[in-house]
Every structure is written in structure tokens, then in C-alpha cells.
């Protein structure tokens, strides 16, 4: 019998297996083990968590392959890693390492201000960020097998994440309510392929899994994202910038499973110590906002 690898079903299927789970940013194998032990469904290997990237400034790039390999060796759950927007050679390197998913990420400094990576050209699946439905569908048309709303990474502030997931889901509901003959103009307005627009309108949902990222710092934040329709959550700085990472990580995992059970949310939120400090959005100059990267 014929065996086919790296098909669309296997690419988007791995993301389906991650649903209802928490993907955690880690910078060392020790962090990765803490995340796995706490119940993370996958880890994102990177050199610095977004809060530190933000603080350090300069150009943020793909992580050292040696560090990514150490993390891959340390845990049995899937390992993701970030490439710069448009930097298809970083993506080639990550594919050669055998990572399970590549995040073409606005958290790193973009390498191309016009083009994203042609993700169809890769065997490894990609996740990409979005702020609205049009951006999500453009990334899917380029081959992304998973979407995450961007939020504002490294802030511990959920406000942008809420804006983005609400926007995506509101636009999906709007498409689902349209007549067939209105979808052509809708596609033009969304700047997205009409075939994908028709598919979303018919299904009432994206054709791939959609997680929420950027600013989740507490169990309640994760549950808010889930109640707003997320399939799962990415938590970056929120875990390893908190006072007690292992407990915070575990509590966010429990909250993501029991997102619609306030009694359990109250229980798991008790006595976690201080969450990450957080930054008000107004305190970040427009030019330093990460979510506006990518288009």
C-alpha cells in the first residue's frame, strides 16, 4: 500500500491533536521539562521569551540549532521553533533539524517586508499569526496548517489577544450569514482567496485550528481565550516570568481544560504567587508593537 508523508491532513492533523491544550515558550531543556511535567501539549523553543526580546531590543532571530536540538532531546512532546517572517532559509534549517512545527513569527524581527514564506514548499507544518480573518486566510493560502491570533507578545496583557480572537470570530460569523453572491466582494474586502472565503462561510469556522497567543498570564486569561472560541492557547512569557512557573503552568493547563467551569477556575487560581508584571498597551510606542508585523 502507498504511504504518503507530510500531507495536508497530517500537517493540520497535528494541530488538531494539540487542541484544548497549552503550548509553552521555553528557552532551556530544563524549562521544557517543567512545561512537559505541567501538562503542556507542546513547547516552543526560543532563545528568549518575548518579554526579554522586547526588553533587549535589537534584531531577534531564529534560535541556536544546538539549543533547539537539546530541547527536542529533553522532551517527548512536540517541539516547535520560530523563524522570522519571510526568512525561508531559517525555516529550511528548522526543517532539517526535524522540529515538529515552525512558527513564522512576528515576535522575531521580520526578514522580508513584502513576502511571507511559501509554506507549501515545506514538509514541516507551519503556524502563523493573525489579527483578523483576512490575515488568517492569506496565511492559510500560503500553506499555514495552523493559525494563532497574535495578541501583543511579551506584555502579559490580554487586551490585544481578546481583540484579535473576537475580530476573527466576528468576521467568520459575518461570512456565514452572507448570500453566496456576496462572498466575492467579501473576499475582495478581506484580501483573501474566494475559495477559502466560501469554505469558511459554508463551515462557519476556519479550515485549520486556531489558538490564541500573546499576553496570556493567568488561568483566567486562558479560560477567557477558550470561552471566546480559541481551540487552545500559547503562553510565552506568562509562565517563566511568573513567581512560580511550575504551578502557574499547571494551573493554566487545568484552566484550559475546564475553561467553562468557574468553580474549578477559582480552585486552580488560588495561591499561585505573582503573575508576570505586565505592560499596559499604551506604554508601548506604536513602533515597538509586534502584532503589526506581518500583513
Amino acid at each position: 500500500m502507498t504511504v504518503e508523508t507530510s500531507t495536508w491532513a497530517t500537517k493540520k492533523g497535528l494541530a488538531q491533536m494539540l487542541k484544548g491544550g497549552v503550548i509553552m515558550d521555553v528557552v532551556t531543556p530544563e524549562h521544557a521539562k517543567i512545561a512537559e511535567e505541567a501538562g503542556a501539549v507542546a513547547v516552543m523553543a526560543l532563545e528568549r521569551v518575548p518579554a526579554d526580546i522586547r526588553a533587549a531590543g535589537g534584531v531577534a532571530r531564529m534560535s541556536d540549532p544546538a539549543m533547539i536540538e537539546e530541547i527536542m532531546a529533553a522532551v517527548s512532546i512536540p517541539v516547535m521553533a520560530k523563524a522570522r517572517i519571510g526568512h525561508f532559509v531559517e525555516a529550511q534549517v528548522l526543517e532539517a533539524l526535524g522540529v515538529d512545527y515552525i512558527d513564522e513569527s512576528e515576535v522575531l524581527t521580520p526578514a522580508d517586508e513584502e513576502n511571507h514564506i511559501d509554506k507549501h514548499a515545506f514538509k514541516v507544518p507551519f503556524v502563523c499569526g493573525c489579527r483578523d480573518l483576512g490575515e488568517a486566510l492569506r496565511r492559510i493560502s500560503e500553506g499555514a496548517a495552523m493559525i494563532r491570533t497574535k495578541g501583543e507578545a511579551g506584555t502579559g496583557n490580554i487586551v490585544e489577544a481578546v481583540r484579535h480572537i473576537r475580530t476573527v470570530n466576528r468576521e467568520i460569523r459575518r461570512l456565514a450569514s452572507m448570500r453566496e453572491d456576496e462572498l466575492f466582494v467579501a473576499a475582495k474586502e478581506l484580501r483573501a482567496p474566494v475559495e477559502l472565503v466560501q469554505e469558511v462561510a459554508a463551515a462557519g469556522q476556519l479550515p485549520v485550528v486556531n489558538f490564541v497567543a500573546g499576553g496570556i498570564a493567568t488561568p483566567a486569561d486562558a479560560a477567557l481565550a477558550m470561552q471566546l472560541g480559541a481551540d487552545g492557547v500559547f503562553v510565552g512569557s506568562g509562565i517563566f516570568k511568573s513567581e512560580d512557573p511550575a504551578r502557574t503552568a499547571n494551573a493554566i493547563v487545568q484552566a484550559t481544560t475546564h475553561y467553562d467551569n468557574p468553580k474549578i477556575l477559582a480552585e486552580v487560581s488560588k495561591g499561585l504567587g505573582a503573575p508576570m508584571r505586565g505592560i499596559a498597551l499604551e506604554a508601548i510606542p506604536e513602533g515597538e508593537r509586534l502584532a503589526v508585523r506581518g500583513w
Binding site: E4, T10, K19, G20, V41, A42, P78, V99
Partner: protein
């Protein structure tokens, strides 16, 4: 009749949708109380380490084992198969050891080795099953009570049944394949209402004449 789908993490909605496609109501199970009144249980794909941890945290192991021992069918796919295994290589502690098998996690490698293929599954009929394997496990050894339902061309075991427990290393719920769910639903219906002409039934008008 309702069939539960363990909804702690993973592709549980796909299983609820597959059950709906064959006319069976699937209910999400997150807490022990959700198990009341279900005639069978599906353990979906996901991350087995996460799922095992959550099963333990929320006290689900004992009620699921009770449900299985009462004869209700249990169906595990991928991570669900791992969770049901008596032995997981690498010395991970089993949690719902209902299948007398030795299973190896991520047996094919990483995501780049995930694949699709057609498989012969004789108990489901002649038409092959389209099987999607995602970072899938493999069954390395089976005990005497275990029936092998499917093998890859190289002989490796990817679907098993032991009494009322069925497990696949692949994902029928991602491929529009309903026959495994039909099998499990039939087993659940038999469990919920044996309908075996059970016992002697008195004539409706002569109920008072009880046999000594």
C-alpha cells in the same frame, strides 16, 4: 443511548462529530460525574502525557475502569491507545491498563514521519480503511486475549481489540471513516440494552400466574 468522549485535551470534537454522523449522541466527559449514563467511552488523540496527567488530576481513572469492567465499550485512538495500554515502553506508568499490550510512543519518529495509508481491517469489511498516523504509537507485543485488527505491510500492529476495548494507532475521526465508531456504537447499544430475549416473559394477561 449516549457515548462519552473524553474531553480533557485533544481531538475530542472530531469524535463527537463522527458519532453525530452515524446518528449517535456524543457527550464531552471532563469530570467523573459526566460518566453517569453513558454507554461507552471514546479516548481521543492528543498528547498522552497531558491526558494521563489530567485523568489522574480529576479522578477519572477509577470511574473509567469501572465503566469498562461493567462491559461498556472503550475506544482509544492514538494517544487514547497509549492511555489504555498495560505497558508503555520507556517505563511510563500505565493509567488505564485495559489492553494487554506493550505500546511504544512516537514509534515512527517526529512529525515529518507522520503519514497516510490504506489499511486492510478485515472485521470492518473488504473496503480498506484510510488511516492517518500522526506521531503515532505502535503495538509491539500483544497478550493472549488480544485480537489484532490491523497491521501495516511490514507486520507492525496498529489496531487491536480485547473484549470490549478497541484501540487504533491512527485517526479514523480525521479521515471521515465511520466504521470503527459504528462498531463501538453497536457494542454500546448491546451493553445498554442486551436485547437477547432475556428471560422468560409472562403472558400479558396471565401475569398473576407466577412460576413457583
Amino acid at each position: 443511548m449516549r457515548i462519552g468522549v473524553l474531553a480533557l485535551q485533544g481531538a475530542f470534537r472530531e469524535h463527537v462529530a463522527t458519532l453525530a454522523a452515524i446518528g449517535v449522541e456524543g457527550v464531552e466527559v471532563r469530570l467523573p460525574g459526566d460518566i453517569d449514563g453513558i454507554a461507552g467511552l471514546v479516548l481521543p488523540g492528543g498528547e498522552s502525557t497531558t491526558m494521563r496527567r489530567l485523568i489522574r488530576r480529576w479522578g477519572l481513572a477509577a470511574p473509567i475502569l469501572d465503566l469498562a469492567r461493567a462491559g461498556a465499550p472503550i475506544f482509544g485512538t492514538c494517544a487514547g491507545m497509549i492511555v489504555l495500554s498495560r505497558t508503555i515502553t520507556g517505563d511510563e506508568e500505565p493509567i488505564l491498563p485495559l489492553l494487554d499490550v506493550v505500546v511504544e510512543r512516537n514509534a515512527f519518529g517526529r512529525q515529518l514521519d507522520s503519514f497516510e495509508t490504506d489499511l486492510a481491517v478485515p472485521i470492518l469489511g473488504e473496503r480498506p480503511v484510510h488511516a492517518i498516523f500522526i506521531r503515532a504509537p505502535i503495538v509491539e507485543e500483544v497478550g493472549p486475549e488480544v485480537d489484532v485488527l490491523a497491521r501495516l505491510d511490514d507486520g507492525r500492529i496498529v489496531a487491536v481489540r480485547q473484549g470490549n476495548v478497541v484501540a487504533t494507532a491512527f485517526h479514523p475521526e480525521l479521515a471521515g471513516e465511520t466504521r470503527f465508531h459504528r462498531l463501538v456504537a453497536t457494542m454500546a447499544a448491546e451493553h445498554a440494552d442486551p436485547g437477547e430475549g432475556a428471560g422468560r416473559r409472562p403472558h400479558p394477561l396471565r401475569r398473576s400466574r407466577v412460576e413457583p
